[in-house]
Amino acid sequence: MASRTIPGSGLVKGLRLTLKTLFTKTSTVHYPLEKEVLAPRARGVIALDIEACTVCMLCARECPDWCIYIEGHKEMQPPKKEGGRPRSRATLDRFDIDYALCMYCGICVEVCPFDALFWSPEHEYSEMSITSLLHDMERLGVWLETVPDPPALES
């Protein structure tokens, strides 16, 4: 069952290809020195706009993994027009997303009726301990600056 044909053409073609690649430029990005530019829609981390959130719990309800923890309370706001009666408004006490559980499906960003949640391509937030993957309100607010504006669309 020795090799029937003289191992000629197939092997040589393979050798020629590897030699050719040896002298062509490499296609890899030297990660820590050069960083790749990510697509604007890339789903890296969820950013929270704290003012916009009205604690309606929709995102926490719709999340398949139950990884959004929300606590809020009602506050009396000064009336918009003077003489109007003070309006009660729900404000956030706690809005944590546990990125150890999150599967980046984006249902929470989808379902939020008040534009409070946005996607940002940031992805360098790995931690030493898994408990610190629970991002609290301030941390989610910090991500807000990194949200890029959406890409232009095909005609």
């Binding site: 309606c56 719990m57 929709l58 923890y69 729900a90």
Partner: protein, 190 residues
């Protein structure tokens, strides 16, 4: 090129010798009696040699998981489904019912080699006994696992252990604001 489902269902019903068949939503389904389960598969094996899958449904009134069936005039049973087809695209689902207390059905593992694993999975998930199966041992679950997970009475423990995280101390949304109908999570509504 593939015959439309209702014709297919009718023809298969004729071959198999049963009268009840449906083909709604494009899925040809033929109801077969338990006694002629293996015979039906044997008669179909020559024309439709492709064995696709075999599984079961647990029709139960009280459910520990999800919502119970809408209509309540249905008979509590296990429905065994097996799907066979042919390389030119024809496909039919054969269905039979077995009662819950003595849940056993002859195995078709020697008619279709592929049914071996499918039956082992259905056996361990529903507790159905397939008579004549070469080795009816656990396929997925560890040997020491008791209980049959896909039965409706088997609770999904992860949802019991961890309460829903959105603990609310804010009263419900006043109906007027922003008109956001609440898409309740199924358990809460239940």
């Amino acid at each position: 090129m593939t015959t439309n489902p209702s014709e297919l269902a009718e023809r298969v019903a004729g071959v198999v010798g049963s009268d009840r068949f449906t083909s709604d939503h494009g899925t040809a389904k033929v109801y077969v009696d338990v006694s002629s389960w293996v015979a039906a598969h044997q008669s179909l094996a020559s024309d439709m040699p492709f064995f696709s899958w075999l599984s079961a449904i647990d029709w139960a009134a009280e459910v520990a998981v999800g919502e119970p069936p809408e209509s309540d005039e249905f008979e509590q049973r296990y429905e065994i489904l097996s799907c066979v087809g042919s390389p030119d695209g024809r496909m039919v689902v054969l269905s039979t019912d077995i009662s819950k207390d003595q849940a056993s059905i002859p195995s078709i593992a020697d008619v279709f080699g592929g049914a071996n694993w499918h039956e082992r999975e259905a056996a361990e998930m529903f507790g159905i006994e397939f008579i004549g199966h070469p080795n009816l041992t656990h396929l997925y679950l560890p040997d020491a696992f008791e209980g049959h997970p896909l039965r409706k009475t088997f609770p999904l423990l992860s949802r019991e252990v961890k309460p829903w995280p959105g603990t609310v101390d804010v009263e419900d949304m006043p109906e007027g604001s922003a008109g956001t109908p609440s898409t309740e999570n199924p358990e809460d509504a239940g």
